[in-house]
């Protein structure tokens, strides 16, 4: 198998994105880079990144709803984390 980028991988999945209604919101952008760095490493969907100017980039579309970032950020007040509304989000066809 050829190497596959994370974007291509997520492209294989079925998502029903709740446009304009993110289920994960970064509430505190500044002063939390060390915690966010852990999310950059651990997020299975590679949705977290830190830009050159030090700002956080995050996209909730493509979320696999594992809760990894939720547990990493627990107690810090950085994230507002919920499951997507019913029927929205990832739909595993194999699982």
């Amino acid at each position: 198998m050829k190497p596959i980028s994370i974007e291509e991988k997520l492209g294989v999945n079925k998502f029903n994105v709740d446009e304009g209604n993110p289920h994960i919101i970064i509430k505190k952008e500044t002063g939390n880079l060390e915690v966010i760095k852990k999310c950059v490493i651990a997020c299975p969907a590679g949705l977290y990144s830190i830009k050159e100017d030090g700002n956080i980039s995050f996209d909730f579309a493509g979320c696999l709803e594992c809760g990894t970032c939720r547990v990493i950020c627990a107690g810090t007040g950085i994230l507002d984390w919920n499951y997507p509304q019913g029927t929205f989000g990832v739909e595993f066809r194999y699982g």
């Binding site: 198998m1 294989v12 999945n13 490493i41 997020c43 809760g67 547990v71 627990a74 595993f92």
Partner: protein, 429 residues
């Protein structure tokens, strides 16, 4: 205002929730199972393999009708370094015996089937609904809130998975900690059945299960897994969250490197990625056990952290099913006595205590701590590989006695460390 009151509302149509729903509906109770996905299983993933014993007790010979993938007849543990591997293979006719067998499964199909059994028994399944909160009255849980809707029940079972936000709201559970959970990532890779059977040396319908330790996680606490399905492989990695912080590579990068390891590469050759999934695994066992019940509410399955990671076996679904069964039995008695108080629902805990669930959790109580040892994921796989290299690589350089070879490599890890870890391992198991 609530329109109708159920005997029981179950949040989550995974193995724990659907088992409870099936048994309660069979006993004539009015049951509502609420699932946030568009169908049961659509939010769930497993490595994965189901040990059949607990479901077999409830639905005899289920594997002949349920959408299971392959019966596992071959177990392999592989220690990996960057370019080498040493494997231990176990094959036995005993893996084939009733109650002892295990099956690879894919959850979208399997969970739908089990939820369907609950529906057939009379439970109402409401998919596509996210439960946001619980209804409380005088400190008792009396139902659930989903959006604008309120639904009442005598008892609510929380089967909402590892993250169980609801168990926290019910005051049964505190927030998960990074050393209590592992993140699992998995690719489902499509291959023709014949190719799978040839590559893994299997007869038609038989399956293989492989676990990997060492280089696959770059020495981080965790491991790799590979299960054969009918027409696909489930290949993935699991990492304890607490140990990931200092990793040089991201989780998706490590999965790609694992796939290109010389041991894995030929196994997935010409395969086609059909899905990429991720999930948290509760791994701290008894050390993270929540309060299992309170007035009008119980927590089961992954939501209760009922998973056993013994390194060479990882079990969750068989515990989930048994916990769903225990919860349903307690509720059936509660219904007879019309008493859904904590004191009455304590029967759930009693039943679990007497079952394999708590007995096995106790048995492996010290294991999570034992696994928090970086030597298991770095030095030991290297040590074993080095010994085998000395044994099998012949290049004309003068040979040394085997005992010296072994001793030299062992000294690199430190004999005291080796003995200490071996003793800890024996005690932990």
């Amino acid at each position: 205002m609530p329109e109708e009151k159920f005997d029981c509302i179950i949040v989550g149509a995974g193995p724990a929730g659907s088992t409870a729903g099936f048994l309660l509906a069979n006993a004539g109770l009015e049951v509502l199972i609420i699932e946030r996905g568009t169908f049961a299983g659509s939010k769930n993933m497993t490595g994965g393999r189901l040990y059949s014993h607990s479901l077999e007790k409830i639905i005899s010979d289920f594997a002949s009708v349920a959408p299971v993938e392959r019966k596992v007849v071959k177990e392999t543990i592989t220690m990996l370094t960057n370019d080498s591997a040493v494997s231990i293979d176990f094959q036995s006719q005993q893996l084939n015996q009733a109650q002892k067998e295990s099956y690879t499964v894919l959850r979208a199909d399997f969970d739908q089937w089990l939820a369907g059994k609950a529906e057939d028994a009379g439970a109402i399944l409401a998919p596509g609904v996210r439960v946001d909160d619980l209804l409380f009255k005088d400190g008792k849980v009396t139902g659930v809130i989903a959006g604008e809707d309120e639904m009442e029940a005598d008892v609510v079972i929380l089967a909402d998975g590892v993250n169980s936000l609801l168990a926290q709201k019910a005051g049964l559970k505190v927030e998960l900690k990074p050393n209590q959970v592992a993140v699992g990532v998995k690719e489902v890779i499509e291959l023709p059945a014949q190719v799978i059977e040839d590559r893994f040396g299997l007869n038609k319908g038989e399956g293989a299960a492989r676990i990997f330790v060492g280089n696959c996680t770059k020495g981080k606490i965790g491991g790799g897994f590979l299960y054969t399905n009918k027409n696909s492989l489930s290949l993935g990695l699991v990492f304890t969250l607490a140990d990931l912080a200092e990793s040089q590579l991201t989780v998706p990068q490590m999965l790609e490197e694992f796939k290109s390891h010389p041991v894995i590469k030929p196994l997935i050759k010409d395969g086609k990625l059909v899905e990429y999934s991720a999930h948290l695994v509760p791994e701290a066992g008894l050390n993270m056990l929540p309060k299992l019940y309170s007035d009008g509410v119980m927590v089961v399955g992954d939501a209760a952290g009922l998973v056993i990671n013994a390194g060479y076996t990882v079990r969750g679904m068989d515990l989930a099913i048994a916990s769903g069964e225990a919860a349903s039995k307690a509720i059936i008695t509660a219904k007879e006595q019309d008493d859904y108080s904590a004191a009455s629902l304590a029967r759930y805990q009693d039943l679990l205590d007497r079952s394999f669930v708590m007995q096995d959790l106790k048995q492996y109580q010290k294991f999570p701590e034992f696994m928090e040892n970086p030597r298991i994921f770095n030095e030991y796989p290297q040590l074993v590989v080095n010994i085998f290299k000395d044994m099998f690589i012949v290049d004309g350089s003068p040979g040394k006695p085997l005992r010296k070879k072994v001793l030299n490599h062992a000294k690199q890890v430190g004999l005291v460390n080796l003995l200490k870890d071996a003793w800890k391992g024996v005690k932990a198991l």
